[in-house]
């Protein structure tokens, strides 16, 4: 079921009414609400293909059993058994992900595999959202094993007396429909303490309205409209070679804005929906296209995935504690695997690896004496450094605000264009298309079509304005606060609602659903 479908509206209304039904205020309010939300989540997930519920059930029961065992051994102080069960549970989650997502990909690379087998493996369907609920499962297992999740019922769960309730709560955490299919990836330690009885008068309506209107606006008005044009980039090398740079560039910029609007829109809708049911989800996007470095980009883009990779992969691998060489290797490995997490194709691995490469270069540059690699260092500490010699012979005053703005602008342009160019490997069906794109950029054709550039300006400007608002919040806080208090918010929400109703794009699934 899609958040932007008519049936979802009905589903939401019914679930909301049942969740806050008068009897939810009684002694068993929490049990009623969690069970209602859990059943609704199962219906939500199985709406298109009920067969998928079976897999979800395996994941849910498997994780519940493992969690119960880990808690039991944790209470008894048997750390060896805790480690054993943690290992088993993580392997189970990775096995599920590997079987459905990566086995079909690997089948093509296994030599001497009979053609019939390879084809049968390639035909294994990819269950929607598997990457997300697998990561939720791993997060829960690891947090429990680390003792980061503590609840009153842990002890009871460990004694087996409340196993059913434990399974219910764990299932609810794994399946809660706003985040089930495409995140944000909520960590167990952040979610479990929130599992309480909820009251309708506690709903933060301002957050709900802001998130839902902005989220639907970004998805339905911006992303869906841009996608009709940017689909032209996926038609293959021949089609790209026949295009002119004047058409291709707006399409590439359009895709950059579209993928943000699509995923940030989804995340905002998820945050708004969760808030309707009394749960807080973490922010997933913090105006990523304001970034002035790739490092900063990953602190602002898909923040819940970045945080997950940091906590459950980068740090356990040793992070930056084991010397520079290992740090670079870890950084690269995390980005390579992060790329593959997006999809079982080499193009995603390449996309992640290139991001890893740029992260490594930036890290190297930050400690480098070469000023060109280290603008930031150079500007902050000119005196007594090698760079000050350079500046003294220069006609520029490097502390001058104008110069600082110029440097920041250059860094922003550089970062934005690296991110934009790397989206090509993410989007294109194959490497031949990526090469054809760059070849076509210099083919000298002058043909010009109106719709791509019009769409970029008309729909893309909404993303630009959204980021301008982010910039104001970060750099002109008093003015941003003044604006927030002015009637501009209902005015903007009115315009956004109007555009959602009258100017929607052709309904499309969310890009991240495929992951």
């Amino acid at each position: 079921m899609l958040f932007n479908s008519f049936e979802f509206l009905i589903f939401l209304a019914v679930t909301f009414a049942l969740y806050y039904a008068p009897w939810s205020r009684g002694r068993h309010g929490k049990a009623w609400q969690v069970t209602t939300a859990l059943v609704a989540s199962v219906i939500f997930y199985g709406w298109e293909d009920p067969k998928l519920i079976g897999l979800l059930a395996i994941s849910c029961v498997g994780n519940s059993v493992a969690t119960a065992r880990i808690i039991l051994h944790k209470v008894n102080g048997d750390e060896d058994q805790v480690r054993n069960w943690t290992r088993r549970a993580v392997i189970m989650n990775l096995a599920l992900l590997g079987f459905f997502k990566y086995l079909p990909f690997l089948a093509g690379m296994i030599p001497f595999l009979p053609a019939g087998w390879a084809q049968a493996i390639k035909n294994i369907p990819l269950p929607i959202g598997i990457s997300f609920y697998t990561f939720h499962g791993i997060s829960m297992i690891v947090d429990v094993a680390r003792g980061q999740v503590t609840r009153e019922s842990d002890t009871l769960l460990s004694k087996g007396g409340r196993f059913t309730k434990g399974v219910r709560d764990i299932g609810f955490y794994l399946l809660f429909f706003p985040q089930l299919v495409a995140g944000p990836i909520v960590k167990a330690k952040d979610f479990w303490p929130q599992i309480q009885a909820k009251r309708i008068h506690d709903i933060p309506w301002q957050l709900v309205i802001r998130s839902l209107i902005t989220g639907y606006f970004l998805k339905i008005f911006v992303a869906d409209n841009l996608s009709e044009q940017t689909a032209g980039l996926t038609l293959g090398a021949t089609s790209l070679l026949a295009s002119s740079p004047l058409n291709l560039l707006p399409l590439l910029y359009g895709y950059t804005l579209q993928i943000f609007a699509d995923f940030a829109g989804y995340s905002l809708i998820a945050i708004g929906l969760a808030a309707m049911f009394g749960y807080r989800f973490p922010t997933n996007f913090n105006f990523p296209y304001l970034s002035t470095s790739i490092t900063e980009f990953w602190r602002r883009w898909h923040m819940s995935l970045s945080g997950w990779l940091r906590d459950y992969l980068y740090i356990p691998l040793g992070g930056n504690r084991k010397g520079p060489a290992r740090t670079y290797l870890n950084l690269f490995l995390v980005m390579f695997l992060g790329g593959l997490w997006h999809g079982a194709e080499w193009k995603f691995a390449l996309w992640g690896s290139l991001h890893g490469l740029f992260l490594g270069l930036e890290r190297f540059g930050a400690g480098s004496k070469f000023w060109i690699l280290n603008f930031k260092f150079w500007i902050k500490e000119p005196k007594g450094s090698a760079e000050s010699n350079f500046s003294s012979s220069s006609t520029f005053n490097i502390q001058h605000p104008t110069f600082k703005i110029a440097v920041t602008s250059v860094k922003w342009i550089f970062t934005f264009h690296i991110v934009t160019a790397l989206w090509l490997t993410f989007l294109m069906p194959d490497m031949a298309s990526v090469l054809a794109f760059f070849k076509a950029l210099f083919n000298g054709r002058t043909g010009f079509a109106g719709p791509p550039i019009f769409s970029l300006l008309f729909y893309g400007s909404a993303v630009v304005l959204y980021h301008a608002w982010g910039w104001l919040q970060e750099h002109r806080q008093p003015f941003a606060q003044k604006l927030s208090r002015s009637p501009i918010e209902p005015l903007l929400h009115g315009i956004m609602l109007f555009l959602i109703l009258t100017n929607p794009g052709a309904p499309r699934g969310f890009i991240y659903f495929q992951f």
Partner: protein, 285 residues
């Protein structure tokens, strides 16, 4: 409460501005930046207007002026990137109203041989599409983006001359009924499409519609008209008119290789009106 009042006032102001803009543009926008919504918009506007003449076809048809440009009797139901058969099926299924005269552009009719259902045909079944026919504010022809894009497009294709001044290309030709004696070699897909569309047309003819298959300018290079289209016109007892062939290339201005500019499209519309008038006169006689 203040938030809600301001929100509702803003919404009301937006819908008011949209209605005003729609009225100023003659009832519908010319084109959206999206082929998909341009097509849906024309079809919704055509269904809403219920004129005497409907023109079904592709983006070539889409350039023809209709009631929005002062041609009171015409509904342009051109489907960008598609052809008229999806719209014809929707008329047959009762999703769209019929008309006394239905022109089917044949320039792109080959596209109907593809077995794949189009996005347009699927969307015409949706409640949103049907709702938009009766509620212009929600229709595809009143999208805010389409107002801006139509302004831009007008610069490219020129302005439509007034309907009163619409003269045809002066070819002196008219639609004809083909002899059923001719035999046309058809492959299996063509034969099945001819059978399907013939059945549809016969049903609509029984409801009072008359059909003309027309090849609009620009003309085919040197090829004869596709056999299966001639077979279709013949078996469905519809008129066939190779207008594009008869028009001198010097008289037609194209904005690219296939689409007429506004003055040429107006002349083509003038010819369609003239043909209908002539066929009605012949029927009376």
């Amino acid at each position: 409460m203040r938030y809600l009042i301001l929100l509702l006032l803003t919404l009301a102001a937006c819908f008011g501005a949209q209605s005003l803009a729609l009225r100023m543009s003659g009832g519908r926008t010319l084109k959206s930046e999206s082929n998909f919504f341009s097509s849906l918009g024309r079809i919704q506007a055509g269904a809403h207007a219920q004129q005497k003449i409907m023109v079904l076809g592709s983006s070539i048809t889409g350039r023809l002026p209709d009631s929005a440009q002062g041609f009171a009797d015409i509904s342009n139901m051109g489907c960008d990137g598609g052809c008229g058969i999806d719209t014809l099926r929707a008329i047959d299924q009762g999703i769209l109203p019929s008309a006394p005269w239905i022109f089917i552009e044949t320039n792109t009719l080959n596209l109907s041989l593809s077995p794949k259902p189009t996005e347009i045909s699927r969307t015409m079944m949706s409640p949103w599409f049907k709702f938009g026919i009766n509620h212009p504010s929600i229709s595809a022809y009143a999208r805010p983006s389409a107002f801006f894009y139509s302004k831009l497009l007008a610069r490219k294709i020129g302005n439509y001359p007034p309907a009163e001044a619409a003269r045809g290309f002066g070819t002196g030709t008219a639609p004809v009924l083909l002899s059923s004696a001719a035999s046309h070699p058809l492959d299996a897909i063509q034969a099945s499409r001819v059978a399907e569309v013939t059945d549809i047309i016969h049903r609509l003819q029984r409801r009072g519609s008359r059909f003309v298959f027309v090849w609009l300018p620009p003309a085919r290079a040197n090829d004869p008209a596709p056999e299966w289209i001639l077979a279709l016109a013949e078996s469905s007892h519809s008129f066939w008119w190779d207008l594009g062939r008869r028009v001198s290339p010097q008289d037609v201005n194209l904005t690219d290789s296939v689409h007429m500019d506004a003055p040429s499209a107006t002349r083509a519309t003038g010819d369609l009106l003239r043909a209908v008038a002539q066929l009605e006169r012949e029927k009376l006689q």
